[in-house]
């Protein structure tokens, strides 16, 4: 019987050497046409529908609350390629981009409409005038029915998560911070969210409490929603008077079992409410904040070592281009780049989302601890968030360009 060849003995050097030529022939003969278009794939369509790079919208309606506060119904603009606004979770925000004198400015606005409203083709945002603000004033004075707008996909983590959050949420809203809670309340009444919302709504007077009547009407029809107006400058029968204190929270919190606290409002409200909430000894996961918002006046912090009034030189490297721009010590690097017309990327403007994540190549910046959302790797490799970084010396930064716009 002939000995059977096994393993390496079967290999023929001739055949092996031919493989390269065969492969070359095989590759050369293959078609260079794409196998398929990404748009034909269901998962890619879904990804694009839920997480579009940019949403083109048009102002469909303007609701005037006062000269300094208006709500805008933003409808999808199919002519520019957005067929339907992307679905979202109640509590999320849109980063709205506006162009003023050819410069792009982005600002986050909570979505006040409900997720279900996107099926009817619209979002609603509410804009309040910020003293000294660039964008809020521009929108309030210029946007009318038909104005074109551009927005990000829905973003943010100020959402209800049943695995983490308690069945009852005490919502603490101050001023225009009511907007995400209007979305929560509407989503609960429409059956898309399932938790008990006790809303402590702080305002100066009842007249200032935008959406109060609407939310009260939702509460009437849905026993999962409760609205408590807390008026600081006015005494009205049946309404709470004063500020939102730990005592008041305890009064409306469930007598037994856990509860979560969700806060959205101005920075002064966070500072006051956080001290009160501390005394309630809740677990950390049960206290959740909406974005802090832009940080101003770093010079008031002991940790800041720059000169607030000095103009520093910032060398910005972006997509292979180098630009030198001025930046005052009390101005964030992001604002300086926007003012210089560099169109830097930004979404949350509060050190959280990571969209403006940039590398500090030279110099020193100050990032306030309360808005420092960086990871350990960022600190090791010198990354910063320009939205909450203030120059303490001349600096050089490497910034990614804004995609999608």
């Amino acid at each position: 019987m002939a000995k059977q060849k096994t393993g390496i003995e079967q290999l023929s050097a001739g055949r092996f050497l031919k493989l390269a030529a065969d492969r070359l022939k095989f590759v050369s003969a293959a078609s260079d046409a794409p196998v398929s278009d990404l748009k034909d794939h269901l998962q890619n369509q879904l990804a694009e529908a839920l997480h579009p790079h940019v949403q083109f919208l048009t102002v469909g309606e303007v609701i005037v609350h006062s000269d300094d506060m208006k709500s805008y119904i933003l409808r999808a603009d199919p002519q520019r390629g957005t067929k339907q606004p992307a679905w979202f979770s109640a509590g999320q925000y849109l980063s709205i981009a506006v162009f003023i004198d050819g410069k792009m400015y982005c600002r986050p606005y909570s979505i006040a409409s409900s997720p279900r409203d996107t099926l009817d083709g619209f979002y609603m945002i509410t804009v309040k005038r910020v003293q000294g603000g660039v964008v809020s004033g521009y929108i309030l004075d210029n946007w009318k029915v038909g104005t074109s707008a551009a927005a990000s996909a829905p973003l943010g983590e100020f959402t209800y998560e049943p695995l983490r959050d308690a069945k009852t949420v005490i919502g603490i809203a101050g001023g225009s911070g009511i907007t995400p809670f209007r979305s929560f309340a509407k989503a609960i009444s429409e059956g898309d969210e399932d938790f008990n919302l006790v809303l402590l709504y702080g305002s100066r007077t009842l007249n200032d409490a935008v959406f109060s009547d609407e939310i009260a009407a939702m509460a009437k029809d849905c026993d999962k929603i409760k609205l408590v107006n807390v008026l600081s400058d006015e005494k009205v029968r049946g309404k709470e008077n004063g500020f939102i204190t730990a005592k008041l929270i305890r009064k409306y919190a469930p007598k037994e079992g856990d509860y979560s606290i969700f806060l959205c409002g101005p920075q002064a409200m966070y500072r006051f409410a956080d001290k009160e909430i501390e005394t309630l000894n809740l677990r950390r996961k049960f206290v959740r904040h909406e974005l802090f918002g832009e940080y101003f006046h770093p010079e008031n912090d002991a940790e800041y070592h720059g000169d607030a009034e000095k103009t520093y030189q910032v060398t910005v490297r972006m997509a292979g281009k180098t630009t030198v721009i001025p930046c005052k010590g009390n101005t964030s690097l992001l604002r300086a780049m926007e003012d210089a017309g560099l169109n830097p990327p930004s979404d949350c403007r509060s050190g959280r989302c990571g969209w403006c994540h940039s590398q500090l190549l030279a110099g020193e910046v100050y990032t306030p601890a309360s808005v420092d959302g960086r990871r350990e790797a960022d600190l090791i490799y010198g990354y910063i968030h320009p939205c909450c970084a203030f120059p303490e010396t001349d600096v050089t930064i490497d910034v990614p360009p804004m995609p999608g716009l």
Binding site: L19, A20, D22, R23, L24, F26, V27, V35, S36, L38, H41, L42, Q43, N44, L46, A47, L50, H51
Partner: protein, 76 residues
Amino acid sequence: MTFARYLGTPEGTIYGYENSGVDNVVMRTAMKDLDYNMPHIHYCGGHYVRGDGFPSGYITGMMAANAAINELRRDK
């Protein structure tokens, strides 16, 4: 869907080009300088010569990093 969003691959597939017949790991590796001939660009991941899988990702990542470091040292 999440992979489709972040990777932009068809159906969000995380796998690279299929290993088939003459187009296999050995031949891809043997012919890599012919296939990947752009100077200063080093490749890694599931679409590179070793095909898909975590070990291939790690190993080709290490290979790319070493190649880039060697190139930088040479250029100094």
